[in-house]
């Protein structure tokens, strides 16, 4: 058997596949988890997406003519080379040697000279290297930065910069099993430092770590979840024994959190994707919780609904993901405005079809991890126009921007780690 491709060549192929619009970065990386150089491959591919537009424009200055489509892997490899020079503290000669070697391993020995030449020219060009700490204007696709600037004029610069940062690793403590303070002490014994978040369950780690070193993870003391999502049970005002629908539930972070918060709830969790549903079941099992799980297209209520009305409905709708770009930098590279519009259509149908499943007086929480008004405020405004049985409730929490029909979290650059993902909440009551 042949040795596996080296880390740079592997990362280049992952990026090339991504640009060929084959899935997402995180799914592409899953199958490499067992490799010893996994952290490096992850760093290279995530980093390259994070700075994609900038690196691409710089690369163009060094190429006399564009590379052919079938040599996309070499273009990705060049971008990985530039990323390493810009962002990683590795010796220059090592970067060049390894990246040239990767071209050979990609079966394109003709490209070794090109890679060598471009990377050396880049190193010589002081102006490009020294620009790395300045504000970078072109780190987003044009349509996205324009939308953000139009919709959030006061916060746009912060949002764009925040999207280029690495996200904090945030834990959700199951306070039924251990107090936050005691868990922080357990972490300290493992030499892991963290601090309390704003919600009652959040601990933000000072530095990310592997899941398997978290104390009592298998026993369900703790889960990984961004702080924004941890506001959900509080906003939904859950009461004992209520009948709750989690409409797009997988992988089940919020399902489990609601049950931890109020163990007597009767939760129905639905998702269309069976393999993601398996992760939800695993999460429930790990935390020793139970919920009714159904694999179905939730908007097709005839297929799964028994006509019993829910007291609470959580719709964490599929969306553009523009609030979680720091966690999924490939969104910056791949997402198009057409896809935003098709998410808007999906969300509209979900709202319309699920509204009838809510009992009068019940609460419906609509959330997205988007920061675009099309998917958030405008979506809710249009829904309210289409029905006279809904009214919007105000959400009283200590973070985010108050909007007319909900509350918007925007990505923030705070260094303390207390900066939840971009997220939108809208709470509707049925009259």
């Amino acid at each position: 058997m042949q040795k596996t491709l080296n880390s740079r060549a592997t990362a280049a192929l992952i990026l090339a596949d991504l640009l060929n619009s084959k899935g997402s970065l995180s799914t592409a990386l899953i199958k490499l988890r067992d490799r010893s150089d996994f952290p490096l491959i992850q760093e290279l591919s995530f980093g390259c997406c994070r700075w994609y537009w900038l690196i691409q424009s710089q690369l163009e200055q060094f190429l006399n003519h564009p590379l052919r489509n079938k040599d996309r892997d070499i273009r990705c490899l060049l971008m990985i080379g530039i990323y390493q020079i810009r962002e990683m503290g590795v010796a220059d000669y090592a970067i060049i040697n390894e990246t040239v070697e990767a071209a050979r391993e990609l079966n394109k020995p003709w490209a070794t000279g090109l890679v060598n030449g471009v990377l050396r020219a880049y190193l010589r060009d002081e102006t490009l290297n020294s620009s790395k700490n300045k504000e970078c204007p072109n780190t987003h696709p044009e349509w996205l930065s324009r939308l953000i600037k139009n919709q959030w004029p006061a916060q746009a610069i912060t949002v764009l910069n925040a999207n280029n940062l690495r996200p904090p690793m945030t834990l959700r403590i199951n306070t039924q099993k251990i107090s936050r303070m005691n868990y922080l002490n357990l972490l300290k014994k493992q030499n892991l430092a963290g601090s309390f978040g704003r919600t009652e369950t959040a601990i933000i780690l000072d530095a990310p770590c592997r899941v398997d070193v978290l104390p009592n993870f298998k026993e369900g003391f703790v889960s990984i979840q961004d702080e924004a999502s941890q506001y959900v049970p509080g906003i939904l005002d859950l009461k004992p024994k209520q009948y709750v629908l989690d409409a797009c539930a997988a992988p089940g972070g919020k399902t489990c959190h609601m049950l931890e918060h109020e163990p007597t709830l009767k939760v129905t969790a639905i998702d269309v994707n069976s393999s993601r549903m398996q992760r939800l079941t695993d999460n429930l099992d790990r935390q020793n919780l139970s919920a009714k799980t159904i694999v179905a297209d939730v908007k097709d209520t005839k297929k799964w609904w028994n006509e019993q009305h829910f007291d609470r409905i959580l719709l964490d709708a599929p969306c553009s993901g523009t609030g979680v770009i720091r966690r999924h930098p490939d969104i910056k590279v791949l997402r198009t405005y057409d896809e935003v519009l098709s998410s808007v259509e999906i969300q509209k149908n979900l709202l319309k079809n699920l509204w009838k499943c809510l009992r009068p007086g019940g609460l419906f929480l609509y959330t997205t991890c988007s920061i675009l008004r099309e998917e958030n405020e405008t979506q809710i405004a249009n829904f309210l126009k289409s029905t006279d049985t809904a009214k919007c409730e105000s959400i009283k929490i200590n973070w985010g921007v108050e909007c007319e029909y909900g509350r918007q979290f925007l990505p923030d650059v705070s260094k303390s780690g207390h900066n939840p993902d971009g997220f939108f909440f809208s709470l509707l009551r049925k009259i």
């Binding site: 058997m1 042949q2 040795k3 596996t4 199958k31 079966n107």
Partner: protein
């Protein structure tokens, strides 16, 4: 890391030699190998050649089939430092865990191509060593993948048999073109 050429001392004192590795679609790769019964000095010489050939080609495993010797012998070294050779004679395996592992496999007989192949993640190997002594070994991860890949060779099977005909034909024509040029 680029493969470093190692110098091996032969255990039998004979001169070691690099053997030629057969390349897909050579039909000799489809031969089913026969079990080894003679554990004499000629076997040791063959194993030395196989190790030398594997290391010099930058491989992590080589089956005797690949050098046109149709006996059930494998050499493997999956270590980072490439200093832990393992020899398997007449190997078989049983699957001990139904979980599968997706791995981008490459093959010395199919140079330059990598394909994602899903195989059982953990297997138990039953084998003999170069002296004929029986042993068992539980392998997982890359070692499990590599052993299964090499045992396939002994049965005349190649990793391209696991992928689509379209991909296989593309690889075949590219390699044939390259072989013609040489």
């Amino acid at each position: 890391m680029y493969p470093i050429k190692l110098l091996h001392t032969s255990t039998t004192g004979t001169l070691m030699a690099l053997r030629t590795i057969l390349e897909f679609p050579d039909l000799r790769l489809r031969t089913i190998a026969t079990p080894v019964t003679d554990f004499g000095s000629s076997l040791e010489a063959l194993i030395d050649d196989m190790l030398e050939t594997m290391y010099s080609a930058g491989g992590i495993g080589l089956a005797a089939t690949q050098i046109d010797v149709h006996q059930r012998i494998l050499v493997i070294d999956v270590s980072e430092d490439r200093n832990t050779p393992q020899v398997f004679v007449n190997p078989t395996f049983t699957i001990s865990d139904q979980e599968n592992l997706d791995y981008d496999e490459g093959c010395l007989s199919i140079p330059g191509f990598y394909e994602t192949i899903s195989r059982p993640k953990t297997v138990v190997i039953h084998s003999q060593d170069q002296h004929g002594k029986h042993f068992h070994l539980e392998a997982n991860g890359i070692l499990a993948v590599c052993i299964q890949h090499e045992i396939d060779h002994l049965d005349g099977k190649l990793m391209v048999d696991y992928i689509s005909r379209l991909k296989r034909d593309r690889i075949r024509s590219k390699l044939e073109k390259k072989q013609k040029a040489l």
